[in-house]
Amino acid sequence: MPESLIIGVTIFVLSMFAGFEVITKVPPTLHTPLMSGANAISGIAIIGALLVTGGENTILNTILGVIAIIFATINVVGGFLVTDRMLNMFKKKEK
C-alpha cells in the first residue's frame, strides 16, 4: 500500500469522526440549511475539476472537465447562497 493512500485513509476516517461530532449537534430546526450547506461543501469536487481542466488534455477531457466545473460551481454558488437566504429568515421572537 503506497504511503499516500495510508495518509488518505487516515484523513478520511478522522474526518468522518469530526463530521459526526459537529453534525450531531445541529438542531432539527436547521436540518434543511445544514443539508444545503453540506451540499455546497460537496462542491469541493471543483478542485478536482480545476486540476483536470487546466492540465494538458485531449479535447474530450477538456469538455468533461468544463462540465464538471459547471456542475460543481452550481453546487458551490447555489448551495452557499440558498443556505444564506434561508438562514437569514430564521429569527427569534423579539420581546
Partner: protein
C-alpha cells in the same frame, strides 16, 4: 516542497478548518449564518489556491466553466421558492455527484492511455464513478418526483429488486475486471452506464413521502463521491470535505429512518405507501362518522383557548399556507392564547422542511418545538390545529402491531382536549391507512384547501 506548494497545502488545511468550524456554528440558528459564511470563505480559499497550482496551464476553459456555473447557481438560489427547497437540495446533490464522477472519468481516460493503472487509483476512480453516477441520476429522479415530473407514488415492475441487484452487480463485476485485468475503455463505459441506470432504478420505487430519507442518503453519497475523487486526484481537501458531507447525510438519514421506525432497507426496497391497505381501511370506516366544523366555530374554539398547538404537515407546504399560518398564530397570540408549533421530524419532504417554511413566514424559531419536547404538553393543551398532516398523528402507530406504521414515533395530538384537522378529505395519508383520530369525539374536521381555510379562520378570529 517549494514555497508555492507549501502555501497551497497550508491553505487547504485552513479551508478544512473553516468547513468544520462552519458546520459547528450551525449548532444554533443565531450563529448559523456566520457558519455558512465561514464555510464559503473556506471554499473560496481552496479554489483560489488551486488556480496557482503548476499543474494548471490554461485558464480559458476554467473561467468559462466558473462563469456559467456561478450564473446558474446564483439565479437558482435567488429564484427558488422556500416550498421548492427539497427539489433544490435534491438537484444540488445531483450536480455534486455528477461533478465528482466526471472528474473520475476524465482521470481514467487520461491515465488509461498512458500506463497501467495502479490498483488504488483504479479502485478510487471506479468508486467515484459508481457513487457519483448513482447520485447524479438518482437525484434527478428525486427532483422529478418532488416537482411532479415523475409520479410521486412508487413505480414498480416485476422482479424489480432482482433486476436492480443485477444492474448493481454488473457495475461491480465490470469494475473488478478493470482492476484485475486491464483498464479497457469499453468495460469502463459499461460501469458508467450501469451506475447511471442504477441511480434511476433505485429511486423510482420510493414514494414521495419517503423523500426525506432519499434526499439525505443522496446528500451523503454526493459527499462520499467527492471523497473518492479526492483519492483519485490525490488531494486531501476533497477527502476531508467529502467525508464531512458524507457523515452529515448519513446522520440525517438515520434520524429520518428512526422518525419513521423503519430501517433504511425497508425504505429503499419495500415500495412503501402503495395504498394496498386502502380497501381494508374503507370497510372499517362504515359505522364511524367524522364531525365537520366551519370557520366560525373553529375560530371560537381557538380564539377562546388558553393554549394552542399548531401541527404543520406536507399539506401546509403543498398549499403554500405558511403565511396564513403565521397570521393565525399572530391573531391568537394577540388574544392571549399561548401558541406553539409541533414539528415531526419527517413532516414534509425533507429534514427541517417545515422549519424553513415557517421561518420564511417569519414565525420565530423559538415557537417551534421538536416532537420529544412537545409531546408531554399535549395533555394540557386546549386545542391542536393540524394542517395537512396525517400519518404522523395517527394513534394506531402506538398499539396496532399489524399496522404498517406501528412503532413510528408520533405527535400525541389525540391527548389534547380538542383537535381541529384541516384536510381536503378523509382520504388516507401516504401510508395508505385510515386515521382513527378523524373519528374521535374530540376531533372536528375542517375540510378544504389549507390556505383558504386558514384565511377564513383568521377572518373569523378577528371578528371575535
Amino acid at each position: 516542497m517549494n514555497l508555492l506548494e507549501t502555501i497551497i497545502a497550508l491553505s487547504y488545511v485552513l479551508a478544512a478548518a473553516l468547513f468544520i468550524l462552519g458546520i459547528k456554528y450551525m449548532s444554533s440558528p443565531a450563529t448559523a449564518r456566520k457558519g455558512n459564511l465561514l464555510a464559503a470563505i473556506g471554499m473560496f480559499i481552496a479554489i483560489l489556491v488551486t488556480l496557482l497550482d503548476k499543474q494548471i496551464i490554461g485558464y480559458t476553459w476554467i473561467v468559462v466553466g466558473i462563469v456559467i456555473g456561478s450564473l446558474i447557481g446564483a439565479i437558482a438560489a435567488r429564484r427558488v421558492q422556500m416550498t421548492g427547497m427539497p427539489q433544490m437540495v435534491g438537484i444540488l446533490n445531483g450536480f455534486g455527484g455528477g461533478a465528482s464522477a466526471l472528474v473520475a472519468v476524465a482521470e481514467f481516460l487520461r491515465l488509461s492511455g498512458t500506463q497501467a493503472l495502479p490498483t488504488d487509483v483504479a479502485v478510487s476512480i471506479l468508486l467515484s464513478v459508481i457513487i457519483g453516477g448513482v447520485t447524479f441520476t438518482g437525484s434527478f429522479i428525486a427532483f422529478g418526483k418532488l416537482q411532479g415530473f415523475v409520479p410521486g407514488s412508487p413505480i414498480q415492475f416485476p422482479l424489480q429488486n432482482i433486476v436492480n441487484a443485477l444492474v448493481l452487480m454488473g457495475a461491480v463485476i465490470s469494475s473488478v475486471a478493470i482492476v484485475l485485468f486491464s483498464p479497457a475503455i469499453p468495460v469502463f463505459v459499461i460501469v458508467v452506464a450501469l451506475s447511471l441506470l442504477y441511480g434511476i432504478l433505485f429511486v423510482i420505487p420510493i414514494g414521495g413521502a419517503d423523500m426525506p430519507v432519499v434526499i439525505s442518503l443522496l446528500n451523503s453519497f454526493s459527499g462520499l463521491a467527492a471523497c473518492a475523487t479526492g483519492f483519485v486526484v490525490g488531494n486531501n481537501i476533497l477527502i476531508i470535505a467529502g467525508s464531512l458531507v458524507g457523515s452529515a447525510g448519513f446522520i440525517l438519514t438515520q434520524i429520518m429512518c428512526k422518525a419513521m421506525n423503519r430501517s433504511l432497507r425497508n425504505v429503499l426496497f419495500s415500495a412503501f405507501g402503495t395504498g394496498d391497505a386502502v380497501a381494508g381501511a374503507a370497510q372499517a370506516k362504515g359505522d364511524k362518522t367524522a364531525r365537520s366544523i366551519d370557520a366560525e366555530e373553529a375560530a371560537m374554539i381557538m380564539g377562546y383557548a388558553q393554549s394552542a398547538v399548531i401541527v404543520p404537515g406536507y399539506g401546509m407546504a403543498a398549499a403554500q399556507a405558511q403565511h396564513a399560518v403565521r397570521e393565525l398564530a399572530e391573531q391568537l397570540m394577540g388574544r392571549g392564547v399561548e401558541v406553539k408549533f409541533a414539528i415531526h421530524p419527517v413532516a414534509g419532504r425533507m429534514p427541517g422542511h417545515m422549519n424553513v417554511l415557517l421561518a420564511e413566514a417569519q414565525v420565530p424559531y423559538n415557537l417551534l418545538f421538536d416532537m420529544d419536547d412537545i409531546n408531554p404538553e399535549f395533555p394540557h393543551t386546549d386545542v391542536v390545529l393540524v394542517i395537512g398532516a396525517n400519518d404522523v398523528i395517527n394513534p394506531v402507530a402506538r398499539y396496532d402491531k399489524s399496522s404498517p406504521i406501528y412503532g413510528m414515533p408520533i405527535l400525541d395530538v389525540d391527548k389534547a382536549r380538542h383537535i381541529i384537522i384541516i384536510k381536503r378529505s378523509l382520504n388516507v395519508g401516504f401510508a395508505g391507512i385510515d386515521n382513527e383520530l378523524f373519528y374521535d369525539p374530540k376531533t372536528t374536521m375542517y375540510f378544504g384547501n389549507a390556505k383558504e381555510k386558514l384565511q377564513e379562520l383568521v377572518a373569523e378570529v378577528k371578528k371575535l
